[in-house]
């Protein structure tokens, strides 16, 4: 199974090397761009799904609160809520799961194609699926005075700029694509998942920067190109929040779809998904079975409320 993934990758990378006149860095860059573009529908789907899920969070929390002692009921209510809002709860993680093997395969393909040692090179044999590419092996391993098969520390001093670039571009990508902060929970405590996501913005760049210090320069180039293309993709999709770089958090997003669940409809109508004006911290209103919540900016409760006449109507 591994060969089915890696062999086409190694072949295309080598083909790129030929197309770009034996320039390995251009080949890596072009190949990374192609892969990122091919997987962009998955990225778009993931972004959409993540956004929808984020908008549904207040309701999910309310459901959790309401059915905290009945897990089965909670599951039913959650599924019903997803269904009514046309959300696939796995819609966010499935595209990511599909992308991960692709990115890992790309990483391995670069590692294999550079063929820095006898073991690496013999493992490359038989992977090139197009005739005539064997004569290109091993691919060029020198670029701008750096040996691409060696880590930056075993290259000229200026190669150390690469881990720095990896760190900066990883941070930039994380910063720009960080989800909007959800409101604090009913008890006023900050959302743990959001806190974790924010701390990842710091940890991930450091981790990748450290990795690229240890890995070959060729892989560092892949990380940088991949990050830059990722930033461009998020920008084109309108999900990159460039304002964050200047201390501006994204504007609050309003939740309007508040339909009582199917199971609720069947039985006697109870409190709308557990919300009470007291719990709502003054930001939630209940109106004819319709709840509207305005997500505050930067965690500050918004005074604005808006009732949807359509949503929640019996």
């Amino acid at each position: 199974m591994w060969d089915l993934i890696i062999n086409p990758f190694v072949t295309v990378l080598t083909l790129m090397y030929r197309i770009f006149n034996n320039d390995i860095v251009l080949a890596i860059a072009a190949f990374t761009v192609i892969i990122r573009l091919l997987t962009s529908p998955l990225l778009i789907q993931q972004q959409r799904s993540a956004k929808a899920m984020q908008e549904l969070q207040p309701k999910l929390k309310a459901l959790q609160e309401k059915h905290k002692n009945d897990r089965e009921k909670l599951a039913q209510e959650q599924m019903a809520l997803y269904k009514e809002n046309g959300i696939n709860p796995l819609g966010g993680c499935l595209p990511l799961l599909i992308q991960l093997p692709i990115l890992l395969a790309l990483y391995s393909a670069i590692n294999h194609a550079l063929g820095a040692s006898p073991y690496q090179l013999i493992d490359l044999s038989g992977r090139l699926l197009l005739p005539g590419l064997d004569s290109l092996v091993p691919l060029g391993d020198t670029w701008a005075g750096m040996n691409l098969t060696r880590p930056p520390t075993a290259n000229p001093t200026y190669a150390l700029i690469l881990p720095l670039l990896v760190l900066v571009t990883t941070w930039l990508q994380s910063k720009l694509t960080l989800p909007a902060p959800p409101p604090p929970s009913g008890d006023g405590k900050p959302d743990q998942a959001a806190q974790m996501t924010r701390s990842m913005t710091t940890i991930m760049p450091l981790m990748f920067g450290f990795f690229s210090l240890q890995f070959s320069v060729g892989l560092g180039i892949y990380f940088v190109v991949s990050n830059v293309v990722g930033i461009a993709q998020y920008t084109l999709m309108g999900t990159a929040e460039w304002g964050r770089l200047f201390g501006r958090d994204p504007k609050p997003k309003e939740i309007t779809s508040v339909t009582p669940s199917t199971t609720e409809k069947r039985g006697k109508r109870s409190d709308p998904v557990g919300f009470t004006p007291e719990k709502a911290n003054g930001t939630d209103t209940v109106s004819n079975g319709t709840m509207t919540k305005s997500l505050p900016s930067g965690g500050t409760p918004s005074k604005k409320t808006k009732a949807s006449k359509k949503a929640g109507a019996k």
Binding site: M1, W2, I5, I6, A75, Q76, M79, L90, L94, L97, I98, L100, P101, L104, A105, S108, N111, S117, P118, Y119, Q120, L121, I122, D123, S125, G126, D134, S135, V137, P138, D141, N147
Partner: protein
């Protein structure tokens, strides 16, 4: 119920994706650099250099040979009463504030029966007292990594060291000063050949070079259309070379660097072919074995698909057989005359090292010819088979 059914489907999907992810993430990313290098000393003991150690194994006892002290007596633990100490060499070198473990992938170059030179991967050239396994001194440090054997030219007292990244370095064996450095586009992963003061070697930059051993000046270079990671075979009688490449070709080359003939193989050739009675034997990384007539240009005598996996080492041709070993551990005895399979064995580990033959007779005490297979698995580092009946005789483990 419906929700459960949906969940089950999703769970299966997630499980499938996780399986793909795991398969990808756990894909064989091989550790290490190269495979064991096996050779014989003058006493027909097997010298195996792999990773951080060199072992010397007696093929008759399949144990390491005893270590001697400076007086030539067998060394024992606790002076004279303990167990016999076995021959092994391991080392580490200071690098910055810490020590770096030495790595050996090359065969020793014997200067005489008691002394050899060996290179380690990091570029250290060591001079070792053979009976005592003592490193006399680190002769020199070459800037570069070494995965292929060095070559000696006794006539000019020169040592030619191939570096895995770019150069061949010529050292004066009197003082180990550098005589010259010959740079190529890519590295040299095979042992150079020295013939009449000319150093011949193939490089990963697709070229076959002839360099003046005294001055380091290039005599000629020949484009082989693909990388070559194995030494050329020199046929002294007819004054020509045979060399295999990653372009899936075997070339017949004259001493003047002209291609005389060529033969297309199914896959990369990563070995030095064997010539016996005008027939050239080689194998490729698709598992094919070839017997080629060298009279009047290379032509096929037979071609046989011997194994399902690639074959890195050259066939061992002896006793009417061509013995090959594959990356899946299959060891196959082919009929030398027609390539038909006679015996099949399995060593249960990947074979990449060259195959050795140890003939009976002085000074060895073995009573039959042994085929020595070396694997990259320390628990099956050396496996010995009878050449005649293919039965396994012993296994040496680390």
């Amino acid at each position: 119920m419906n929700i459960r059914a949906i969940s089950a489907r999703r769970l299966i999907l997630i499980a499938a994706l996780l399986l793909i992810l795991t398969a990808t993430a756990c894909a064989p990313v091989r550790q290490g650099t190269a495979w064991p290098d096996v050779s014989l000393d003058s006493q027909k003991n097997i010298v195996v250099a792999y990773e951080n150690r060199i072992d010397v194994v007696n093929p008759a006892t399949h144990l390491r040979i005893p270590l001697l002290n400076e007086a030539g007596e067998i060394r024992r633990e606790d002076g004279s009463s303990g167990d016999v100490l076995d021959w092994e060499l391991a080392g580490s070198w200071p690098q910055g504030d810490s020590n770096v473990r030495s790595l050996f992938y090359t065969a020793p170059v014997f200067l005489n029966e008691d002394t050899f030179l060996i290179t380690d991967y990091a570029g250290y050239l060591l001079r070792v007292d053979y009976p005592t396994a003592r490193i006399e001194r680190s002769v020199t440090k070459i800037e570069g990594n070494i995965v292929a054997d060095a070559a000696v030219d006794a006539a000019t007292n020169a040592l030619y060291v191939p570096l895995s990244e770019h150069d061949v370095v010529a050292l004066d064996m009197e003082n180990y000063d550098t005589r010259w450095v010959f740079e190529t586009e890519r590295g040299i992963w095979s042992q150079p050949l020295v013939i009449d003061g000319i150093v011949y070697f193939t490089a990963m930059d697709h070229h076959f070079y002839a360099v003046d051993g005294e001055t380091g000046e290039q005599r000629w270079s020949l484009d082989l259309e693909g990388a070559s990671a194995a030494s050329p075979l020199y046929d002294a009688e007819n004054e020509r070379f045979y060399v295999g490449t990653f372009a899936s070709k075997i070339f017949e080359v004259s001493l003047a660097g002209e291609i005389l003939s060529q033969y297309e193989t199914e896959d990369w050739v990563w070995n030095t072919p064997v010539l016996q009675e005008g027939i050239l034997y080689t194998a490729d990384l698709s598992g094919y074995v070839y017997a080629l007539n060298t009279e009047g240009g290379l032509s096929e005598v037979w071609k046989a698909k011997a194994t399902s996996a690639g074959i890195r080492p050259a066939p061992l041709v002896s006793g009417g057989y061509a013995v090959v070993a594959s990356r899946k551990g299959q060891v196959v005895w082919l009929n030398q005359a027609d390539g038909s399979i006679v015996f099949e064995q399995d060593v249960d580990a990947e074979v990449l090292s060259d195959i050795l033959l140890i003939e009976p007779g002085e000074p060895s005490t073995i009573n039959e010819p042994l085929v020595i297979i070396s694997t990259a698995k320390n628990s099956r580092l050396l496996v010995a088979f009878s050449l005649e009946d293919s039965n396994q005789r012993w296994v040496y483990s680390r």
